[in-house]
Symmetry: D2
């Protein structure tokens, strides 16, 4: 059994890791790290785990944890891992970081968008960006550090990736309008996330300044081989789980001036994702709904070509706590240890 | 593999059966019955099942299904099964009925509360009331027909059962105030169940007349050996899943006039439920929350003794589509076929 | 124009006072007290008031406010007003207190249930319990201090009052099962009130120990002329506004052993409430819904007699921020200043 | 008093008209038309109106209504009014049509997008598009027919209008990503609008084909004097009320290549909307939220310039049943009869 430690086990993403690892046949949680609830029973914090998890929460002692665990998941605030990670730790244990600390290769970009100093940039080069469907070849038993992608990011990139990679859209026109359930805002006690403030309400936030923007741009830039600058606007939606992205871009016209057909576009997606277990390209005319993937590791994608404007509307959805966080982290763990990639992740979406 | 057929596979309870049986290692669905969607792909109705279920919906041909299946689940309107069930069918296949047709032993009571004629009362005597934790001894490979309990009923009975059985409360004072998520109202297109009518709203309904009342009374009557008459009031709550019951009853005082202590009451519950996988009696002072059992087969129970009034407040919660319908149906199927009772039901509740 | 000051203007009840007083033709807000937001524009806290309220928030300086205002509304935590109220203040200004400080006549009961010392019990005797429909005769231009009833309390008392007063129910059997929207929990930043913790969830809380219990018992005791002990169980519901109470009690039988008829019971309610603008007794068979009173000062009441159990089920609903807080406070202000009782309160409920 | 008749009074927009007209000092409803509920008490359909509205619902007899009323509001399905409107009716009564029948000047465009034949195109030329802030000069006591704009349309147009009119954005790049509460889908009993289907869910619909698209394009085309083709994508959000639009467009650069500053853009909005009672341009950095306008006739607008992409993000919100339907209809009625434009519409938004 692979021994897993979780730092930040009482946040929503950490809690989802606990849930998923309960169903994993080759891994077990040996450390429930939670600075806020040290010595408190984990199931007193998350009572869904009553009689399922008997452990108590422990402090964030990474050194000690590195001795006990084979893999550490850090579901922690930005800057935490960068502040404590050492060569010694990485020499003993694999780390899957659910924060943004090692996602962005250019440390200056990280420091600008996150407004904090990066305290261990020396590990950035070796970190693999753990978007499994794109980078799984780089995630092996040799890998020590995986930067687990953000929730908005995973959804935004996978939805557009085939067309960006194939040069079929003009990335200068790419606009990503994203909508997220409220669990993405975390479990911190803030007035703006109170039930009465979120329920029966909707708003954009972080307009032209959200931190996931450079992460999306960097990865799509790798795909097309040139720098990408795009508009990304997140919105808060009164639901617990789910991200929906609606992406707009101008299609490149063929030599004869015609737009590519739906079938041509669809063939590209099928080529990239046809064999992907966790990416479901929906039938023509079907728009993805967040509810259809709830609780699962799926990304659902729908495509509409707008002949009038020459644009394609690409829509993607995922569960922000699963494929957008804990599920992808487990998927990365599976890759790191040479397990079946879908182990522990064969979750059937729950409806209604 | 046990071959299962589902009649009413596109209702919410039927859909949940499909979800649960996907994760069952010894059963598979061979017939997705849905009169409304004949010949339509099941995953076009419930897109969470896209690329998981490839079958199309079929008509409700019970005779033909009895040839193909080992067990039939009927998640159908009241009266349907009673109208079509025959000795021939029962001689070929086991039936787990999620409707109320065979739950009530006294056919006159059934006909009064449901307002319809029972068209096959001859099968009522052999039907076992499938409240597994109470009646599992009667559900064996000899059993042909299981009457799967209702959602309100399962929650209401299990919450009070130990004290009723032990004669520790005065059943004449028993009041059950129940609250349910909206999936309990089914998937029929009715104005009263529209989002805008339910959201930001709450109401009681069926006051002093709800059909689950006699079912609860009958079962609690068996427990205490005498007839029980109680108040049962269901309420509709703006959430998808979950039932919460708050039950009030006067505690019988001891010879010295004192109320039993929490520890004494608790010991009774532990005696009945201490070894039950799916019933979790919470720690003292903890009130159950519907969210802690969502998506799982658990029933959570909390108890508070009110010294001032001499009453006990018993609170129970379950997921109406799982332990309140499809989960319990699978649990019954497991008992019918001698499988491990929890097979396919080791679902960890999903939070948030 | 009556000059009104609000202490606690940025809580939910305070915010509702601001909304209601905007539509009041004879009063205006001259002081927006909010210790948390001193010097911040009120409309930067509640942006619904953008371009409607131009004032900034001010500190809780009661002495100074007493000079400026004709009436002070205190929408403050328990114990605040008791700690600062003085004879001097009361000699200058009328006070409508939305906290519980002066609601309970027996200071020992207050201190026991609230767990705090009452620091100005000398004002308790003169405080009038501002349940307008019951006590309006006592709320006059002579009154200096009104204890505005709690939200659960207003709903619970008014729903049962006529039958308690007339001795038609056995108050020893009275059980109040109450359900509340989340705005009743206030605007404090607590994990338990986060959207993801409340949404898709329901629970009881404060079982057998909620502070509104003695307030209900005291007032119903005045009605029937003897002490009342009852069960009161509040529940948290995933909606913003609205309280629904479901009350159970055994009806006193007539000399011939028969239960009173619906018409007899109804006639009693009509006698008490037939001329009340803000109490609507619904037609026979209609259950109240929280949504039908949302945003208004109405209390809706429905009644069902359960012949089987000999009980009556009394259901009441109101908007916890209006009739359960700010609306009733304005109603009390109107009485204090001899205005039309419904001035500023002719709000049509908003649906959906 | 102006006598108003409502056809479609039991739909959500019709119900909101009833609510608003209750508070209107110079108009009264004399005809509650509802084909579905003929002879039923209006307050039995919408119980919020219990003891407020005593009338019964009547059939859709436009001829008879034209004799009784001064103004008719038609909150009816597409094609209804076009099928029954006559010169005789228009000669007797003013009509404010909340459907789309007379919004689009080019009948071919209407017939293509709505898929129905227009049965009285002869009235299209005289119909005034009732977007009050833009066209109020054309809505006078001479006007007989007002085409009340759609909810998405009102929000989409007003949010971008000043920049389109002034030529400050490239309309070829205009993308409107719109999100709506579920009341916009109406009160028809459809599975897709059931609580359990909408709650905890989000989706786009009508992508590249929604009927409000040509209406927006036509009106913005008038503003800039040339044809506009844009992308419009509506989304369904799990809330009752509220529309939020997020609009993206490339800003035209100045001669020196620089983007216009926020202050320059803001000055334009202030010039157009500075004196508009119902349009609130928010402070820099503030994003509109649907909740801040709920129940009111306001449109709130926020603006962010994205230097990186050269785009402006324009965000607008309104209550789809008020400014997006019934509120604007009343505003049009006020203009038609020379009343104060805001009469009956001074509604303070309700929070939370």
């Amino acid at each position: 059994m692979i021994k897993a430690g979780i730092i930040g086990a009482t946040g929503y993403a950490g809690g989802e890791l606990v849930r998923l690892l309960q169903g994993h046949r080759e891994a077990e949680v040996v450390w429930y790290g939670s600075r806020s609830y040290i010595d408190k029973k984990y199931s007193d914090v998350y009572r869904n785990m009553f009689r399922i998890v008997e452990d108590v929460c422990r402090d964030d002692r990474l050194q000690e944890l590195a001795e006990e665990a084979d893999v550490i998941f850090t579901a922690t605030p930005q800057g935490f891992l960068a502040g404590v990670l050492t060569e010694e730790i990485l020499s003993k244990v694999k780390v899957v970081d659910l924060s943004a600390d090692y996602r962005i290769k250019d440390v200056a970009v990280y420091e600008k968008w996150y407004g904090i100093e990066h305290r261990s940039p020396q590990f950035i080069p070796e970190a693999v960006y753990g978007l499994c469907e794109i980078n799984r070849g780089q995630i092996t038993d040799k890998t020590r550090l995986v930067a687990n992608p953000g929730c908005y990011t995973t959804c935004s990139i996978l939805t557009a990736y085939p067309l960006v990679k194939e040069g079929l859209i003009d990335t200068d026109t790419l606009i990503i309008d994203a909508k997220s359930g409220t669990s993405g805002a975390g479990r911190g006690a803030k007035v703006q996330n109170l039930f009465c403030e979120v329920n029966e309400n909707m708003k954009a936030y972080g307009v032209a300044s959200h931190r996931h923007t450079p992460e999306i741009e960097e990865q799509l830039g790798y795909a097309c081989g040139r720098s990408v600058t795009l508009s990304f606007t997140p919105h808060l939606v009164p639901m617990n789980r789910g991200i929906l992205v609606t992406e707009y871009a101008s299609l490149r016209r063929r030599a004869d001036g015609a737009l590519p057909s739906y079938d041509e576009i669809r063939a590209v997606y099928d080529r990239y994702y046809g064999n992907e277990k966790f990416i479901r390209v929906l039938d023509e005319g079907v728009c993805p709904e967040t509810k259809w993937v709830e609780g699962s590791n799926y990304v659902d994608i729908g495509l509409v070509i707008d002949e009038r404007t020459g644009r394609i509307v690409m829509m993607g959805t995922l569960d922000n706590l699963v494929k957008g966080a804990a599920g992808q982290a487990v998927q990365n763990m599976n890759l790191l240890f040479g397990l079946r990639e879908s182990e522990g992740l064969e979750l059937v979406p729950c409806f209604p």
